[in-house]
């Protein structure tokens, strides 16, 4: 793939409507169309240095119909949801929510797997969600062991004292807590997934 290949200007090219698509898939009113490329977002972003593209550049790529390059970018996965850009954006674009949209689109298109960092990030989110769907509550011990063994085995020796401290100080349970009406939650989430698939 050429990351910055020019998309076809043929008006039937659906990627030219990618901006509308991203905006429509975002919760609430994203206002992404209102971006004036001022760069306040990137200038306010604490982890911008680790991003493939600053948010401004990413939004310009979306507008230019560069669907695949935008969905392969690590930028949404590096976003820490600090909302600095959101409160500073002069156009009131819901930047953090657009980042969530791009992540879910990248997962759906399978475009997060070619970089270790984005694959790790997506897998962490999915593992977290698996636990929540199963128990109704987050389960840190299960999440941490599964995630670290898979993605950061080399970090484990250095982290052992911390893990031991968390367990011995009873800040982490060995067993999950399950909500009472887990069947209700499962039914709600199953219906929600149907709704999402139909959208």
């Amino acid at each position: 793939m050429t990351p910055h290949a020019e998309p076809s200007l043929d008006p039937t090219n659906p990627n030219l409507r990618f901006l509308e698509e991203v905006s429509a898939a975002t919760a609430g009113v994203s206002r992404l169309e209102m971006c004036i490329q001022c760069g306040t977002c990137g200038g306010s972003c604490p982890p911008a240095a680790d991003m493939d593209h600053t948010p401004r550049m990413l939004f310009a790529m979306i507008r230019a119909g560069m669907r695949e390059a935008a969905l392969r970018s690590n930028t949404p996965w590096i976003c820490v949801s600090c909302y600095h850009c959101v409160v500073r954006c002069p156009q009131d674009v819901h930047i953090a929510d657009v980042m969530y949209t791009l992540k879910s689109m990248a997962i759906r298109a399978g475009l997060y797997k070619d970089k270790a960092a984005t694959e790790t990030a997506a897998d962490f989110s999915q593992t977290f969600v698996d636990m929540v769907e199963k128990y109704g509550r987050s389960f840190e011990f299960g999440l941490a062991t599964r995630h670290y063994l898979k993605h950061f085995p080399l970090r484990l020796p250095g982290m052992a004292p911390m893990g031991f401290g968390m367990l011995s100080k009873k800040r982490m349970d060995f067993t999950p807590r399950r909500i009472e009406n887990i069947d209700q939650l499962k039914a709600i989430l199953a219906r929600a997934k149907e709704v999402e698939a139909a959208a």
Binding site: C82, K169, R171, Q184, L189, A192
Partner: protein, 335 residues
């Protein structure tokens, strides 16, 4: 002030932020803060579910809103002490109100569980907001029997309480003064902490540790430069990252910071004369006992089991060999 509040504790309060829960329970009685837990609440999805799939993520939050609204009796205010929970509940309510399409999707999903939520029917507020604006600092001051005089505290809010602030409840998005004023009311010496709403790294400690270590380093080094004795936070994630990952951050940068971080409710409990053991002190990994003892003369409970001492590393780099028995011939030091 409401006579009671619906209470959404969130998963962290049951585990990693147990100290937050314990200290909140200890101070809620003297403050007259009547918290009624939402029955059978579920996880809010933190910052993870929103990035996976939109409708399920909002339906997960929606179940909590629907349960809370169903339980509301004489109050419509939900109090959340965790920043991510507070934001997610507020976000779902806000966007469902803004977008009838989203509201419809969420309610179609909720109907599968026999639930429904009308956006706008609840008021979602953070604990600090309720303490400052409903109870008020005069009431807080009146309960102080052990002023925190001489304790230098860095007030640390992190991101998701002052931002995005859908209901314009905070004095500023980047330098709000609510936590400063509260800590001053307890008698503490509050530093003007420039990074008070900067990011702790959030979930990057789990997925991109080097990104997170840099953000943690900025915070603890700034607090250290300002000669803070400790940081006080309103957020379980911030506390976890700065406390539990401080050791790894130090190793990464070859630094030696020791910057304890506790929940603001723990300091409130101390100022109200509560026993430190009741307030979750000792659960932190970067110990705060020494500085509290030194500054305000509080005796901390005996520490809960700490990490086992690490074997001292061998100084010489030769292959390990069996050590000669003490006193046996040949134990002379060899260079």
């Amino acid at each position: 002030m409401n006579d009671h509040y619906l209470f959404y504790p969130g998963c962290s309060m049951e585990s990693s932020a147990r100290a937050y829960y314990d200290s909140l329970m200890a101070i809620s009685e003297p403050l007259g803060l009547n918290l009624e837990e939402i029955r059978d609440w579920n996880c809010c999805g933190a910052t993870e579910y929103l990035g996976i799939s939109l409708t399920p993520a909002y339906a997960l939050i929606g179940r909590n809103l629907a349960l809370a609204a169903g339980q509301a009796d004489g109050t419509r205010t939900v109090v959340a002490p965790c920043s991510a929970c507070y934001l997610n509940l507020a976000k779902a309510d806000h966007y469902m109100l803004e977008s009838p399409v989203l509201s419809e999707k969420v309610n179609v999903a909720l109907a599968a569980g026999g639930l429904h939520y009308d956006p706008g029917s609840l008021e979602i507020r953070h604990l600090l907001d309720v303490i400052i604006n409903d109870i008020g600092l005069d009431e807080v001051k009146r309960r102080v029997v052990r002023p925190l005089t001489g304790l230098r505290v860095a007030p640390y809010l992190g991101c998701m309480v002052p931002r995005p602030d859908y209901k314009k409840r905070w004095s500023d998005h980047e330098h709000p003064d609510e936590l400063d004023r509260l800590l001053k009311a307890l008698g503490a010496e509050v530093i003007d902490f420039p990074l008070k709403t900067h990011c702790c790294g959030g979930h990057m400690t789990q997925i991109g540790p080097e990104t997170a270590f840099e953000l943690i380093r900025r915070l603890i080094s700034a607090a250290d430069q300002y000669e803070a004795d400790l940081m006080a936070t309103v957020c379980p994630m911030c506390q976890l990252n700065i406390d539990a990952y401080q050791n790894e951050t130090n190793r990464h940068f070859h630094t030696n910071y020791h910057m304890p971080i506790v929940f603001f409710t723990q300091l409130m409990g101390l100022a109200f004369g509560k026993d430190p053991g009741e307030l979750g002190f000792g659960k932190e990994l970067v110990s705060v006992g020494e500085v509290l003892n030194h500054r305000i003369g509080v005796e901390m409970p005996a520490p809960e089991a700490a990490a086992p001492p690490r074997k001292p590393s061998r100084k010489d780099k030769s292959l390990p060999m069996p050590q000669p028995l003490h006193g046996a011939s040949g134990d002379e030091e060899v260079s």
